[in-house]
């Protein structure tokens, strides 16, 4: 990444403290919205090579290296060109306030900025370094500007390669569509002067309003082209049949890559009362950077290893790292691989990009695409390859075909199968590729067809409540046609265009997090709602919906969809009879044969069956008590965690049934008792892990949101877990 030197030249004249154009914020506050946002961008990037400086003009004082001669009076350097930190940013904000003065020349301030840039970006040899140089002038155009020697300055700016941006508060911009009425003559003249000056410098000139409006559009991070393969694209084997094979020198680049939100790091509060110490460190860019007082320390990870050992009371014991070797899983068998054989399981494929064959476009279903796309082009330095490549791209395009190819991006990497699709644009020709699934990647489950229903006897029905009526079909068709977005948008010229193109959609999560960090860092504010532009595509366009309201109504009527009423709880007395496929009444068979006592072996089935027949609360309680005994027995008798899963499953069934039969109290009593016993160690020592499992599986107290008859509040239910530290802990963890 190249280095960057950006100097903001800010107008702090007393007029900047006024409010205009119906705004309630001062012009300075208004203008600084843009500047602060830009500064926040560099803070967010936090790259050492990004240097930011600030020069203010029309300041009360004069503080700049070019002296306090008349021309340079009332110009102050507020910040040298250094990488921006939060501390400096906060410091700047206290300094950026409207002054008491009118004096101070904008162009002179630009010269100060140029001087700063020159000093910063000139190499020791005297030659200019490889830097991006930027000056951004923000002014209300109310101060007087000297127009001497403008040409010389223009020449110098161009020589230095400075990118100049001039933004004016309420400057007229007819292209954008802004004009300030009752403009003072001074401002009119200044606007004309700055406009010409900027245009001469090949810079950007605009009104602050536009710049501020543009801030709402999320900034898409730009990446350098990332090459994923450089080498030959082959058809046939050039080694054995050079005259009968095609080999084209190509380069393949990443075309899509999912943008991820910035990652948070783990910190802990610094221990030992060092909270106020200020740490400073030197950055590679020979700039000393003072960190803000930090009360955080980074978190590091350590690892230890244990193996299962039934002979140990804990069921496992620690082992030394030295006694471990790399291994792979073959089912549950550990296959140990010594260091010398490290690569024994790898295929050792060699670098390759070969076409296997071709398919017609309409034989490919896009939903088979497995992931991110790449773009392959012919190597730009090889004319022969470029011609050959072009003929391949055009042949595919004209024949409406895709190629299927095998690619190994580097020696030893895994082969992948990709689909190659021709891509022809005004400026380029290429082959797009997307990964395809291997045999193992496809797990097609069978689903019943959607256009017919197969009855139990195997005949296909064409009329069924699962199948749409003709009426529904045509209502759906009309609705879908009416909600067409392919011409609902508008292009730059105002012609109908596709609505919601990729370029207009921004990753909500990426930008929301960026926005929140910035908000919090700069204004320490609470988290606000996501920006409108991020949720713009969460609803169909209102206009279109309104126009087609009648179509939707007809569809809703034809669809006749009904919400399933919430499940009526309480199985008791409303037993549904469950039968096997034959409809046999198994219950009748069971009658008289039903278990009276629940066995440990078949606890779940027997518990359920007893409950089904329970005639009284007492019978339920009796079953619960039996089940509780079995559960405690399982926990107590468990060697290590051997029976934990089984006990847990029994608890789960007990809980589910008590919710269904609406006996929250029975479960809660059991569960409270269980906790007590676990804490006392009555159910065997070191059962903490079991408690954690129960928590993970959410098998806690039944609260009154789950069942209104419960006398436990959700808070109590949550609280109930927390006390678990009183459980007998495992020796090692003390």
């Amino acid at each position: 990444m190249s280095k960057e030197a950006t100097v903001y030249v800010l107008d702090l004249g007393s007029t900047m403290g006024d409010c205009h154009s119906g705004r309630v914020e001062t012009d300075l506050e208004y203008a600084m919205r843009y500047v602060y946002d830009k500064m926040a961008d560099s803070l967010a990037v936090g790259r050492v090579g990004l240097n930011t400086g600030v020069v203010a003009f029309r300041t009360d004082e004069t503080d700049n290296p070019l002296g306090d001669d008349e021309g340079y009076a009332n110009i102050s350097v507020l910040q040298q060109l250094v990488p921006m930190t939060m501390a400096q940013f906060n410091d700047l904000r206290t300094k950026i306030t409207p002054s008491e003065t009118e004096g101070g020349d904008a162009i002179s301030a630009i010269i100060v900025a140029m001087d700063m840039i020159e000093k910063k970006t000139t190499l020791k040899t005297g030659k200019p370094g490889k830097w991006a140089r930027k000056i951004i002038l923000m002014t209300d155009g109310q101060g007087s500007i000297e127009d001497d020697h403008l040409e010389d300055i223009v020449t110098r700016i161009k020589e230095m390669g400075v990118e100049l941006t001039v933004l004016g508060v309420d400057f007229d911009d007819l292209e954008f569509g802004f004009k300030e009425e009752d403009k003072s003559s001074v401002k009119k003249e200044n606007e004309a002067l700055l406009r010409k000056f900027t245009e001469d410098c090949d810079g950007l000139y605009g009104t602050a309003l536009q710049a501020i409006k543009d801030l709402a559009i999320p900034k898409v991070k730009e990446f350098r082209p990332y090459s994923m393969y450089t080498g030959r694209l082959c058809l046939g084997n050039p080694e054995t049949n050079p005259d009968e094979s095609i080999y084209i020198n190509v380069k393949r680049f990443s075309q899509t890559k999912i943008a991820r939100p910035v990652a948070a790091k783990s910190y802990v509060m610094r221990s030992g009362g060092e909270a106020s110490t200020q740490s400073s460190y030197t950055l590679p860019g020979d700039v000393e950077m003072t960190d803000a007082p930090t009360e955080f320390s980074a978190v590091k990870q350590g690892r230890s290893y244990t193996i299962k050992d039934p002979s140990d009371a804990l069921g496992k014991r620690d082992v030394d790292f030295e006694d471990l070797a790399r291994g792979y899983e073959y089912g549950r068998t550990a296959v140990h691989i010594s260091q010398s054989e490290e690569n024994v399981t790898s295929l050792n494929a060699l670098r390759d990009f070969s076409i296997l064959g071709f398919i017609p476009i309409d034989k490919y279903e896009k939903y088979f695409t497995m992931g991110e796309s790449c773009m392959t082009i012919a190597q730009t330095v090889d004319d022969k390859s470029r011609l050959a490549f072009s003929s391949l791209v055009h042949a595919l395009y004209e024949l409406e075909s895709y190629a299927i190819a095998r690619i190994v991006v580097k020696d030893m990497k895994d082969p992948r199968i990709v689909l190659l699709a021709p891509y022809i644009e005004n400026h380029m020709e290429g082959l797009i590729d997307v990964p395809l699934p291997f045999a193992e990647d496809v797990r097609m489950f069978r689903f019943p067809p959607l256009d017919r229903v197969i009855s139990a006897s195997g005949t296909a029905l064409e009329k069924h409540r699962y199948l749409p009526s003709n009426n529904l079909d045509s209502a759906m068709s009309d609705y879908v046609d009416s909600m067409d977005l392919s011409t609902f948008g508008m292009d730059d010229e105002g012609n109908p265009a596709e609505y919601m193109e990729v370029d207009d959609t921004f990753s909500p999560i990426v930008h929301r997090i960026n926005q929140a960090i910035r908000q919090k860092a700069i204004y320490d504010g609470d988290i606000s709602e996501p920006a409108e532009i991020l949720t713009k595509w969460s609803e169909p366009p209102t206009e279109l919906v309104t126009i087609n309201a009648s179509k939707l109504e007809s569809l809703i009527a034809a669809a006749d969809v009904k919400k399933v009423p919430p499940k009526v709880k309480g199985k008791r007395n409303r037993r549904e009879i469950i039968t096997p496929l034959s409809g046999l009444d198994v219950d009748a068979l069971l009658k008289g044969n039903k278990p009276k006592k629940i066995s440990k072996e078949n606890a779940i089935a027997e518990f359920k069956q007893i409950l089904e027949d329970a005639e009284s609360d007492n019978a339920v309680l009796n079953a619960v008590n039996q089940m509780s005994d079995i559960i405690r027995d399982l926990i107590k008798g468990s060697t290590g965690d051997s029976d934990f899963d089984r006990a847990q499953e029994n608890i789960k069934v007990l809980r589910e049934e008590m919710v269904d039969y609406e006996f929250p109290g029975y479960y809660n009593n059991f569960f409270k008792d269980l906790r007590k016993r676990l804490m006392k160690g009555e159910l065997g020592g070191r059962r903490q892990e079991f408690w954690v499992n129960l928590k993970k599986a959410r098998l806690g107290l039944i609260d009154n949101t789950a069942l209104p008859t419960s006398d436990v509040s959700p808070e109590e239910a949550t609280e109930f877990w927390l006390l678990s530290t009183e459980l007998p802990t495992r020796g090692r963890e003390n």
Binding site: N237, A259, K265, Y267, R303, Y330, V381, S391, L450
Partner: protein, 657 residues
């Protein structure tokens, strides 16, 4: 860096990031119960047809279990499987020695391998039986019991296996492979006992799948017995079922019983696990239906690499436990509650509370909401970021969901239209924009459904996800003649059936990885020769079918290159080019040029003729290493090594060309 890796991993596992209770529900345990009766052990009558079935149904079933076991090790390494033979003379249960009846808990039930994640020895056990059968050796295990086996016993045996081995698995299935449609005949007591045990299994949550085998002289009749022991969850939609399978001992559809069994089991092999359910699908404001989502595409990768403890009697996995501590002079161990998450901004840590972190990720409850419709042709192939999710209607929340879904599907198919939608798949998932694409039902040659009818959620990229190739020189377009010569090549080399059929392309790295692991686990010999790789191009065929066409194209290409270079760089045959100072203004010179300013032209620009001369004059060594590397890269050759190595490599190329 460790931190970074961690995050990367988290992101990769984005989709699998389900809460624990869900995760448990995802695990699957399967027990194969294979009937070992006389008829099951009888091979079909000999036939002249080479494809005809040779295995007895029992052997076919065991072979099937053997293949499925190996397959599951690769495709679902966390799932369990077991094999139970019933009707055998011998009996054996967990931790029991094999014994004849009398002392056995479950007489005539032989637990060949207990329900567990398969181990190498389980594979070996099955392989032994398969080998013995293929070599015609007598297998003592496969000796039918002299008395009828009690099905209630078999079912309770299965009950106990599931209760003890997979107590909290969300999916537990008993696959019964048998040819006996009426095991107990008129014996009401035995029959009733079995029905009761089947009800126990149902209450326990175990699903029975029947794989009935018919003989040429006897059609399997489910209604005689099995309809009394098999239950279906009414929520699955009984009247929406796919016709039940039926197998023929002598094979069917021109395929052996084994292939038919494997195909059927494969379609049931992975329990139909939905990745989400109850998802409201808003087709328009105030028109909601409910759908379930399925992962029909899942990139398979080798199971994790870890550490094993070598010093014990057998190798065991070591579990790693991480502890976190504060960086600094005192490495204080810190607990989870102490750890705060913060972002770095301008050198400062910006901390968010847990509630704030949650709020940031929250874009509302799960929903799939249609924004509108577009022609499918507007979906550009380069706009792909990740695999699609299959959705299918469910009546669980809205009655009538299926017919509305079907109507939408029909319309999308008919008009070649796609929906575009805002999609939040589960609580706190980042919102995505998706295209909704319809799939039509497709069958393979054996009439087995390979693509179901339904809708796919195809994730669309955001502007942030788009990368590019950067600035390029002005394009060179081939002539029509050259392109048309290429047409012929393309037309000649269509893939079979004009489709990419994934089932013909197993992942070579994955297969090799497990093959070697299996060999090592079973202490077999590593085979000679190259690993099998079905993804390699069939070059012989390519040359045979299109060699001469390619040759025609190549000749024309050479002509055009000369012509092009002549026009562009002057000279008679384009060889005396001055390409370092490429005069074409709108042809932006590649950046590499800058390096070569001192030298007249870089290696990559030199024609092969000139290069040959240069090699002969021994001038190559005057060249910069970087240039040589560039040149080698352009040619697709290895570009690493010392200067002498690079020179050797270039000289060798020149000799060969």
């Amino acid at each position: 860096m460790a931190d970074n890796d961690h995050y990367k991993k988290e992101e990769d596992e984005d989709e699998e990031e389900l809460d624990d209770s869900n995760y448990i529900a995802q695990k699957d345990a399967v027990l194969f119960a294979i009937d070992i009766s006389k008829t099951m052990l009888t091979p079909p009558p000999p036939s002249d047809d080479k494809k005809a079935e040779k295995d007895s149904p029992a052997i076919a079933a065991i072979k099937c279990a053997y293949q499925i076991m190996q397959q599951r090790i690769i495709s679902s390494p966390k799932d369990m499987m077991g094999v139970l033979l019933f009707g055998t003379e011998q009996s054996k249960f967990q931790d029991e020695d094999s014994s004849s009846r009398g002392s056995a808990t479950y007489p005539h039930c032989y637990l060949l391998s207990d329900v567990d994640i398969p181990a190498a020895k389980d594979v070996e056990t099955l392989r032994e039986i398969v080998r013995n059968a293929d070599e015609g050796n007598k297998e003592e295990l496969l000796e039918p019991a002299k008395e009828p086996v009690s099905m209630s016993n078999v079912l309770f045996c299965a009950n106990q296996i599931f209760t003890t081995r997979a107590p909290n698995f969300g999916s537990r299935r008993l696959f019964i492979i048998t040819d006996k449609d009426d095991p107990h005949g008129a014996d009401k007591t035995l029959r009733n006992q079995a029905t009761v045990r089947a009800k126990d299994l149902y209450d326990l949550g175990v699903v029975i799948e029947l794989f009935p085998i018919s003989h040429s002289d006897h059609e399997f009749d489910r209604s005689k017995f099995y309809d009394d022991i098999i239950y279906r969850d009414p929520a699955d939609g009984v009247d929406f079922a796919i016709a039940p399978p039926n197998f023929k001992a002598q094979g069917d559809n021109g395929l052996s019983l084994l292939s038919n069994l494997i195909a059927e089991i494969n379609s049931k092999e992975v329990a139909k696990r939905s990745i989400f359910s109850h998802l409201p699908f808003e087709i328009g404001p105030n028109l909601k239906i409910s759908v379930k989502g399925y992962n029909l595409l899942q990139k398979q990768a080798p199971a994790r690499k870890g550490y094993v403890y070598e010093k014990g009697e057998e190798f065991v996995w070591a579990e790693s436990n991480t502890t976190k501590f504060e960086e600094g002079p005192v490495a204080r161990e810190v607990g989870k509650v102490d750890i705060k998450k913060a972002y770095t901004f301008g050198g400062k840590q910006i901390e968010f509370t847990l509630e704030e972190q949650k709020a940031l990720k929250n874009f509302g409850p799960p929903v799939l909401r249609i924004i509108g419709f577009k022609p499918q042709s507007l979906l550009k192939i380069e706009h792909s970021v990740k695999k699609s999710t299959f959705i299918y209607p469910s009546e669980e929340d809205y009655i009538g969901s299926t017919r509305v879904f079907a109507a939408l599907w029909k319309k999308l198919v008919k008009s070649k239209v796609m929906g575009v939608a805002w999609y939040i798949g589960r609580a706190n998932a980042s919102p995505l924009l998706v295209a909704i694409l319809p799939s039509e039902e497709r069958f393979d040659d054996n009439n087995v459904q390979v693509v179901p009818a339904g809708l796919w959620l195809y994730p669309l990229p955001f502007a942030d996800d788009i990368r590019g190739v950067g600035t390029l020189p002005k394009k060179i377009t081939a002539s029509n003649e050259l392109t048309q010569l290429m047409w012929k090549v393309v037309q000649q080399l269509q893939l079979p059936g004009g489709v990419y059929n994934p089932s013909k392309f197993p992942n070579p790295s994955l297969q090799w990885h497990y093959k070697i692991l299996q060999i090592m686990a079973l202490h077999d010999e590593v085979p000679e020769g190259d690993p099998e790789d079905k993804t390699k191009p069939k070059n012989k065929q390519i040359h045979k079918r299109a060699g001469s066409l390619i040759n025609d194209w190549k000749k024309k290409l050479d002509e055009e290159v000369l012509q092009f270079q002549k026009e562009r760089y002057g000279g008679i045959d384009g060889t005396d080019l001055k390409r370092g100072s490429d005069g074409n203004d709108d042809d932006e010179p590649p950046k590499k040029r800058i390096k070569a300013e001192k030298n007249e032209e870089v290696l990559t620009d030199i024609s092969s003729g000139d290069l040959k001369k240069m090699v002969q004059r021994g001038e190559l060594k005057k060249r910069l290493v970087g240039e040589m590397r560039d040149w080698l890269k352009v040619k697709g050759l290895t570009a690493t090594g010392k200067k002498e190595v690079l020179i050797d490599r270039i000289e060798q190329w020149v000799e060969e060309h």
